[in-house]
């Protein structure tokens, strides 16, 4: 809590990420820490969500509120993420993607998580949730390997599939010419598949599909 005290003594308007996380863990400072969080990160997240929503400002504001609700609940009871900035971007994009997928599936139980699992974090993970966690961890490991090969591969894939950027936006943001971009993405996709098959969880899953498809 030392970092938080120093911020208060200095009457600092800008809180560091450590101060925000420490403040969110402390009920006495949570309100101000959350205000600092949305003042410092809200505009960028809103810009990102507005782009994902193709300019629909109302929808983007709804998603920002939902994302920051999740951030509030998580930061109040869990250890600070490695990078608050990266974590907030992840929460916002995931909230938006879940929303888009849910509208596409129109299934009330799609991606719904039992309350006890996420909010309380006391219940033992179910088999299904455990397997999803294993899958996410495997994909995370593949992404790290991909990033080690060429950091641009990961960035391009995440920008296209998570940030919902079109090719023009990716080209402008990364400085890669549009003509080259398709080749880069093709290579990134091919390497992603090769590395994924080296992960036991994903390889086993694929073997299962093949067995299912067999007459």
């Amino acid at each position: 809590m030392a970092t938080l005290a120093s911020a208060e003594r200095a009457g600092s308007a800008v809180w560091s990420d450590d101060e925000i996380c420490a403040g969110m863990r402390d009920p006495a400072h949570r309100e101000r820490a959350f205000r600092a969080l949305h003042v410092q990160y809200g505009p960028r997240l809103l810009g990102l969500l507005t782009r994902i929503c193709h300019g629909d400002q109302d929808r983007a504001e709804d998603l920002l509120c939902r994302s920051l609700y999740k951030a509030y609940v998580h930061l109040a009871q869990s250890p600070a993420p490695r990078s608050l900035r990266a974590w907030l971007y992840t929460v916002a994009t995931r909230t938006a993607l879940d929303e888009l997928r849910q509208s596409a599936h129109r299934d009330p139980l799609y991606h719904s998580v039992p309350l006890d699992e996420e909010l309380l974090q006391t219940a033992a993970p179910t088999e299904e949730a455990g397997s999803a966690m294993g899958l996410d961890a495997a994909v995370g490991a593949v992404l790290l390997e991909l990033e080690a090969e060429d950091p641009r591969y990961r960035t391009l894939l995440e920008m296209e599939h998570v940030g919902i950027c079109d090719r023009g936006e990716i080209a402008a943001a990364t400085g890669i010419e549009r003509k080259q971009l398709s080749q880069y993405l093709k290579r990134a996709r091919a390497r992603f598949l090769v590395l994924a098959r080296q992960q036991p969880v994903l390889a086993a899953l694929e073997r299962g599909w093949t067995a299912e498809d067999r007459p």
């Binding site: 009330p108 006890d116 996410d136 990033e147 990961r154 950027c165 093709k186 093949t210």
Partner: protein, 208 residues
């Protein structure tokens, strides 16, 4: 949504690719991705209306944390009824007082709080009004709506040759079945209530 000017994949690759892309974003985004997204995204200022809405979000999230702690303390199941009871308790209103203030039938509210109403018996407008007055969060309610489903998910198929009985050795609440018993079928009433939950969720969002 996305451009696909890359070559089509083999069916096996396509299936794996779909799975992988659906998992992207479940793990924390890469540092370079975040920096690139940040650099290429505008940062519009938050309007005073949005700032005040975020203040409400904080108060609701704080109340929901308290609700979670209360449930844990009393080892209660999280349901829509338990959430409404918690919010009403926080507002220090009795059931009859709440019914009067929100212009609801006493019995309907009492039934809702004891989780005795199926989603088809919960009008969205009435629920939205109640939740707003009790300062509940839409996020929590959306998570709890499936708890209003009353119908069992599956029903046993009955037939002359079927034999279902409580098995003394199979544990409480479990049924022993003959080896050739027909598989249980999904209950159509369950499916109907599932769709009612979805309609309710959509209507609540629209009314929020």
């Amino acid at each position: 949504m996305m451009e696909h000017d890359t070559e089509p994949l083999e069916p096996n690759d396509e299936r794996l690719w779909e799975l992988l892309t659906s998992c992207l974003g479940n793990e924390e985004l890469g540092a370079e991705t975040v920096s690139t997204l940040e650099a290429s995204t505008a940062a519009p200022p938050l309007s005073p209306g949005l700032k005040s809405r975020l203040g409400r979000v904080a108060r609701q999230a704080e109340a929901d944390l308290e609700f979670a702690t209360t449930l844990e303390k009393h080892r209660q199941r999280a349901t829509l009824g338990s959430y409404l009871t918690f919010l009403r308790g926080k507002a220090e209103w009795t059931v009859s007082e709440t019914a009067k203030r929100v212009r609801l039938e006493f019995q309907w509210l009492a039934d809702l709080e004891r989780d005795a109403l199926a989603p088809t018996e919960i009008p969205a407008r009435r629920l939205a009004e109640l939740l707003k007055r009790l300062k509940g969060s839409l996020e929590m309610v959306e998570r709890l709506l499936p708890s209003t489903i009353q119908a069992p998910r599956q029903i046993a198929t009955s037939g002359r040759d079927s034999l279902y009985r409580r098995g003394s050795s199979t544990g409480q609440g479990r049924w022993s079945e003959p080896p050739d018993a027909p598989p249980a079928q999904e209950n159509p009433e369950y499916r109907e209530q599932l769709h009612a939950v979805e309609r309710l969720r959509e209507q609540l969002r629209a009314l929020w």
